[in-house]
């Protein structure tokens, strides 16, 4: 597999949320606004990138029987780091994301990449894979956040679009979880039609 393919695969074709449908819980809960979705995406990308890097580095030294505890240790270390930094430098975002920052530890997308890819591949490949999957997650959450914030709140990044009267009575359905499912469904349909043509 080419290096470029390793990177791009996670972006759209094997997008965690939209195609594999994993990591859905944070995707539903934190994609209410663009800022939250993008922030959550970047936090997960950071954790994914570094956990892939470290696990790939250690892959020859990790005994098979205790690999899962070690993966979790590494992942939770990076989650705690991002948790502290976000609390210190992005308190508003931290407050909005709430419990979903510490919950990145149990995001199966990250443990899944550690188990399925990083523990079996070279460091450079693992970095590319982590970046690709993480940015794919970020992309999905940002698109969902954009649509949900514009339709459900009448704003984009907090700035009103479509005027004040729309902001007064927006499509509240979209900021609720059913709205997120609806967008995931539509995006999945588009990906199936235009990217994964072979499954038809």
């Amino acid at each position: 597999m080419s290096k470029w393919r390793i990177f791009t695969r996670g972006l759209v074709r094997d997008n965690a949320v939209l195609v594999l449908m994993i990591g859905l819980c944070p995707a539903l809960a934190t994609s209410g606004t663009v800022r939250d979705g993008f922030g959550m995406g970047l936090a997960a990308t950071f954790v994914l990138l570094f956990s892939n890097l470290i696990i790939s580095l250690l892959r020859k030294n990790i005994p098979n029987e205790v690999r899962i505890p070690i993966f979790i240790l590494v992942i939770s270390t990076f989650v705690t780091i991002i948790d502290y930094f976000m609390q210190a430098f992005q308190p508003d975002l931290y407050r909005a994301l709430g419990v979903f920052v510490p919950l990145i530890v149990v995001n199966c997308m990250i443990l899944g990449r550690a188990e399925a890819f990083a523990s079996k591949n070279s460091v450079f490949d693992a970095i590319l894979d982590g970046l690709g999957v993480g940015l794919g997650f970020t992309l999905a959450l940002t698109i969902m956040g954009t649509v949900r914030e514009i339709l459900g709140n009448g704003t984009f990044l907090g700035i009103p679009v479509f005027g004040e009267s729309f902001k007064k009575s927006p499509v509240i359905f979209m900021v609720l979880s059913p709205g997120a499912f609806l967008i995931i469904g539509i995006l999945k349909a588009l990906i199936n039609k235009y990217v994964r043509k072979e499954i038809r």
């Binding site: 009575s169 927006p170 499509v171 509240i172 359905f173 979209m174 609720l176 059913p178 609806l182």
Partner: protein, 334 residues
Amino acid sequence: MNELFVVSASPHVRGKMNIDLAMRLVIIALVPALSYSVFLFGIRVLIITAISIGASVACEALMQKMLGKKITVTDGSAVLTGLLLAFNLPPAVPLWLPAIGSAFAIIFAKQLFGGLGYNFINPALAGRAFLMASWPLFMTKAWLAPANGTLSGIDGITSATPLSLLKNAANYGDPSIIVRQLNDFDTIKNIFFGNIGGCIGETSALLLLIGGLFLIIIRVVDYRIVVGYLVSVAVLVFVLPTKGTLMFHLFSGGLFLGAFFMATDWVTSPVTHKGRWIFGAGCGILTIIIRIWGGYPEGVSYSILLMNVFTPLIDSLTKERVFGELSKKKGVKK
């Protein structure tokens, strides 16, 4: 060529009833209630209904064209969806609301699941639930007083429908007096004839009853669901602690509209006889639970939606044994 025999799978004997005819009959059965609603709330009702039906038909045609299917808007099912959605809206909603509701009902609840026959929930009710979640203000406050009475059915209180008055009596005065007034014969009479406020199509229990009985007699609607629904409501009103009397609970809100016209939707209700009894009873139980303990004053639409989701399960659990099939207990010894 006409002499060729058609070879097909069963059924081989067909009745006269088909989708086109059934849809038209249901629409005819709804016309009296609609006419009375126009009398009660004015010409606005007709405009809302027209917009709702127009949007519904337009979306159906558009989606079928985009998905490359045969355009079947003349079968009347889209018209019926639009009409039922309008029946579920308060009369004073802004005019864009029915259009958006119809679009959601047809596009997301019906066509994306495969069109008529494949939708797993009643499209009109899905549209209503979508509007309820998005614009709760319009959906719970845009009432109009009827031409010949008050919104609540009792004199002096003009800001609540009977069911929300029953639920929040304390907000409008002495609760015990209000509850007594609501269960008064005069009030029940108003509710039964429809001289009260409410959604466009739900006010007159009498006209809905006539339309519904007509459909049951000509076998478009199965009596099992209707009877199961109404009887379970009646039983629960006796058993559970509720402030309303039996008559009040049966005639108020959208119970008749839901029981006769929406729970009985062919696509989203079970096909087995036993399953239809269970389905109707489930709707009744959920309706009363929501009315007594839920956050909303009325629970008909959500209870039908919830039971729609259970329909496949009910069907598979109540499947009739095929002739000759052995029961599971006996089994076949090898």
